[in-house]
Every structure is written in C-alpha cells, then in structure tokens.
Point group: C2
Chain length 398, copies 2
Amino acid sequence: MAADPDHSPLDGGTPIRFDVDVAPPADGSTRARAGRMTLPHGVVETPQFMPVGTNATVKALSPDDLREAGATIILGNTYHLYLRPGHERIARLGGLHEFMAWDRPILTDSGGFQVVSMDELRKIDDDGVTFQSHLDGSYHRFTPEVSIAVQEALGADIAVAFDQPVRPASSTREQVAEASARTNRWAERSLRAHSRPDQALFGIVQGGLDPELRAESTRFMTSLPFDGICIGGLAGDETPAQREAALDVAVGLLQDDPRPRYLMGLGSPADLLEAVHRGVDLFDSVLRARVARNGQVWVPGGRLNMRNAQFVEDRRPVQESCRCLLCRNFSRAYLSHLFRAEELLAYRLATCHNMTFTLDFMAEIRVALRTGTFSDRLPGLRAWALLSGARASPVQPE
Amino acid sequence: MAADPDHSPLDGGTPIRFDVDVAPPADGSTRARAGRMTLPHGVVETPQFMPVGTNATVKALSPDDLREAGATIILGNTYHLYLRPGHERIARLGGLHEFMAWDRPILTDSGGFQVVSMDELRKIDDDGVTFQSHLDGSYHRFTPEVSIAVQEALGADIAVAFDQPVRPASSTREQVAEASARTNRWAERSLRAHSRPDQALFGIVQGGLDPELRAESTRFMTSLPFDGICIGGLAGDETPAQREAALDVAVGLLQDDPRPRYLMGLGSPADLLEAVHRGVDLFDSVLRARVARNGQVWVPGGRLNMRNAQFVEDRRPVQESCRCLLCRNFSRAYLSHLFRAEELLAYRLATCHNMTFTLDFMAEIRVALRTGTFSDRLPGLRAWALLSGARASPVQPE
C-alpha cells in the first residue's frame, strides 16, 4: 500500500531523496560517507544494514523486535513472496507493508539472485529465466517485466531491476561478459516496465571480478535514470581482496554520482566495515539470522557458540554493554539451556542480539563519520568487528 | 532465589496467604468463589490459570509476552528441570525465577505425573519411583524427599507433594486404592522433608473416580498441614461427567477448608469454567500452547484452524475484540501464511493469542464472581468457552 501522502516525508512527485550529509574527506583516506535516504515510509540513515524478511517476516522476529533492534528498513524477497503467498494476494491484502505490519521502508530484490542460483532448476535465455519452484517443482518464468510487476504489486519503497548475477570467482570471462550484457538489456526493460510513481527503482551493476567488465557495467548502469545503484555479483565465492578490488573499480566510477550505493548480500560486520570504507551506503544479508539459529552470537572482537559446554553455568549476559532483549534479561547459561532444549525462544533471543549488534555497529560507524573521526577510529572499529574466522563465508540464497 | 523480603507482599514468617473475597452464594447455585493468593513474588487473583513453563520457558513466549497476556503465576516442571539443566545448576544460578527472568509467582509440580506416566520406563515401589530419562535413557530415582529437595533448589513460591496418579477411567479399584494409600504416605514424607520457610507446600488428593476412595483421600489430605489442596488424577481418560462427579465429592468435603484448590492438568476454557463452577481456584495445562503450535486459535464460541484454505485471504484479525500481539497487528491471512511457511513467528503469535484468550476468560469469570453475576452469566460464559469439539481431550505429559 502506498504511504499516506499526508504523512510522506517526501515532497510530492518523487519516491526517493538521497542527501549526503558528510562527504568523504578530500585527503582520500576513505570513501566512506554519511547520508540520509528519504522514502515514502520514512528516513533511512546511511551507512545502513537491512535485515532480510524472506517470507514477509524476518526469521524469529516480530516487527516490534525489529524496531527495538533499531531496524529502519528491511528487505523482502520477490522470488519467495511471488511463490507464497503470491504477490497478487499480498496486493489484495493491502501490500507488503500492511500484510506484515511493518510501517517503515522496505526494499524488494528482483528475484534474479534466487532464480539464477538454482543451477539445476532453471534455464536462462535472452528474454528471461524459466525455473522450477523449490516448494512444489512447478514451472515459472521471470522476465524483467514480470519481476517489476511482482515488485509493484508488493509495493515496497524501493524495487530493483531484474539481473543475471554469476559466481564471481568461478565463472569464465565469457560467462561474465554475456551475463553483464544481458543484465544491461534487462535494466532498460525494467526501467520501461516500471510505472509506480511512489516506488524508487535501483539498477544493478554486474561484471564479476574483471576490472574492465566491472567498469563497463558500472558506466552503463549509471547512464540510466535509476534512483540508486546496486553492486551485484559479489558476496559470493570471491576472496575479500578480490571483492574489494572490484568494489574500488565500481565506486571509483561513482564518485560524482549523487545516488545511494547498495552492495548486495554482504555479510559479516568486518565485511560491512571494509565496504563502508570503500564507499558503500546499504547492505543486506541473511548471515546474522542464520548463525543465530545455529547458536552463534556475536560480541565485540569475537563470537560465542552457545552450544559449547563452557557457557552452561555462565551467569554473565552474552555482551555486557548490549541493550538487546537477550542481554538485558538473560544469562549465557539460560540461552545455552534454551538451545540445548531446542526451545523456540532461543532463536528469537539470539537473532535479536545479532541484529542489535549489527545495527548498533552501523550506528557507531555513522557517529564516527558524522564527527569526522572515521579514519582515526578505523583500527578500533576493525577490532570490534572481527569475529575470528566468521568473515566472508559465501552465503547461499535463502 | 527468595523474593526480596523488603518487597514481599507477605507479613514475615508465612509463605502464603489466601483470602476468599467473594464466597459462594448461600443458595447453592454455584460453588464458585473469588479470592487472592498472596505469595513471596506477588498476588494471584483466583480463579486463575497458570501457563506451563516446561523447560524454564513457556513454549514460544518471552516473560514480556506472558506479562502482556496477563499471566500472574506460571508452572515449572520439576521432572524436566531436574534432568536439564539440573536443579542444582539452577540453584547455583540464583533459582528458577532469576534463571528464566520471571519475577512473579511460580508453582512447581512434584514430578509425580511425569515419572508415573512413563509406562515402560519406570518402576514404582513403596519408597519411590525409578525411571529412565526420556533424554538419554539414564536411570534416576524420585522419592518424596528427592522431589522436595529438587523443588526447594528450584525455589518456586509453591511446591507440591510427591504423589502417584493413576489413569482415572482405566484403573481398577485396587490400583486406585493402592496408589492413594501410597500417595498418603508420600504426602506425610513430603511434609517432613520440606524445610524452606519462603515456599508454600500443597498436598495432592487422589482416589480416582470412586466416590469412596476420592472422599477418603480428600479427608486424609485435608487433615495434613498443607498450604493448599491439589486435586490430582483427573484431566485424564475420564468423561467430563465422571470428572465433575469426582470433583463434587472432593470439593464437597473442602467447603469449610480455608485453603486454595488446584485442579491439575485441565484443560480447555469450557472445562475450566465447569471446574470453577464446582469450586476450583487454580488450573494449569499445556493444551493451549500445543494447539497453537498446530495452527489452532481460539475465539469466542469456536476455534479456527489457520492451516485451512478459508483463511488465506481473510483480512480480519483472528478475534475482533482481542488485545493480544496477534490480533492487534496482524490478519488471519498473515498468520495463515506464517503457518504455511513454517515461520517461527507463527508459533509465538498463536500462543500469545490462546494464552490471552484463556487469561481474559478467567478475568471475565472473576469479574462475574466479584459483581455477584456469575450464576446469571453462566450460560453466556459457557457459549463463549465452547470450542466446538475441543473439549476435554486427555493431554499427554509434556
């Protein structure tokens, strides 16, 4: 459902405004910047992390939990919602915001990542992708036009153009070039198909790890009238160094571009920090909810596995300084007991914590940027974010 | 942990006070009464329902959820907590209240129901019960002295004497008589073993469905200096009529007894109402959490199965008049989607609703009692509580 125009934070006629409040310093010590993205359902301070609500719910959390953790924007999965409960049903029920009772901004992805990732279950041609549902094996087809129609029905504040990502490290140059060229054509078709005036549309840069292809894709996407630029095809099977090199190519060409930059699918706090440093404004990842379900909670400088015997009588909170539902009320011993007893409350508490940890970390980064201390504080922030070994494991689509 | 004596609602020296504020009317139209049970951790208005926190958590709910649903006292399972995480560990961690972050009253059961229900895995003798853990098959032994020691370590406001329940309808008179006689001896041993001055101790009436044995057990238990009287061995395989007859025998003999009466293990709202009508003050049951996990939610006069196709596009809340987390925020369509997608939030929302439904129903009963309108409103309350077919299915131990 469209936001109430009387309460929209935007002036009439535009679905997004992006203000860079603190530009990167002239000395080139960092490309990090602080900004504000104003959308029909509210204002999002950047750099920002978007929790992923795959099935119109961020796993184990309620909207109140998300607000308490500090989430200002969440991501919805077009592929999952198209299959179940169906985008037309969600539209009849008032749109995704009303359906899931989340009144702040939402971004929907294009479905491209999910359908293209189904190696055995999909067939790509120039017009689109035919794929089988992971739920019942039924056949479906996504084209740029279908993806946009689904996203318009869902009614998020931000939609994303349909694309063909490839595995960055394990694809040939030819595969990357072909996918990038197709993504370019699909971007133009997505723009033509998009008609909802209260919804922003972001385009996706591809181009793998090859600097030339990455630059070519960046130049093409920025030439189109998108409202924001996604950097796709990373957070996959590449090394951090490879990712950072590709990122430097793309952001290097975006320096004078006024639009927000969104690196899709990343990841751990350490990964987010390095990408902010390289000029990225927005992130999403299912990693924190997934590790929480396995009993892993994040603390400054490390991670704790609550299934380990050492915590069964530990009276301390998971993190002394943390304001989350878990740390305010319960001990490590209690959380450890809940995981052993496989009680549902365990998953909610651990997810609340990891989400709060991440969102507070992003808030800390924004404070550093707004006070001009980011470069000085970078070593300290790196130590805080280091989850000894938790960095950059490629995440499978949810 | 003991309640802070500076904040205890009790005068020094006594762990419980029970006041009957509204006695049953002299015309004999009902034995229902309204009262207040004052305990170290707070005041419990009666008639009252106690949510069951099997593993030191009421399944799918946080303490905040319980408070919001209106819970003032919960039940902890001695058998489960003894096995995992262990009563001594809970004692070292500050007791059950601190461990699970629940600062209101708690009652622990004796473990008798669980260990005696394990047909193949236990052996009963006059001294106690030897049983195998359902977790790892290891052998354990409960005696009245062990049960009391475990409950004193857990530190609930109310402990319960160790007993031997039998299946009411499918046991012979000889089996019932033997179990009742043993329960009597175990009651005396439980009293002797109990030493915690800040913890009340309730005794359990047994005696099956035989009026003579039920009366004999009631007379014996009421002769002992317990702080309250549990009515056990019902809410099993008997019919409602058989249960109500046994209840009438027991409560008939308790009419001049000043102590609270607790019918163990019952059940649906309709069952609770009939038992209140027959003079019962306290209840517990795992039924509402269990049916919620299966997608069943309770509404006045009926029940809805959220897995049914009819709800997939139903924009109404589950219950228009309900103040719970689910009904305040979400549609039937959304809850139906969450169950189909097997999302954890479904279980929390449905349990919140069924718990709120039950606790609000008990509050409605208390209002009727305090305004002297209970007998007049009984037909209306019966219609409200009728969950077409959901009545009185025997519940297996959790």
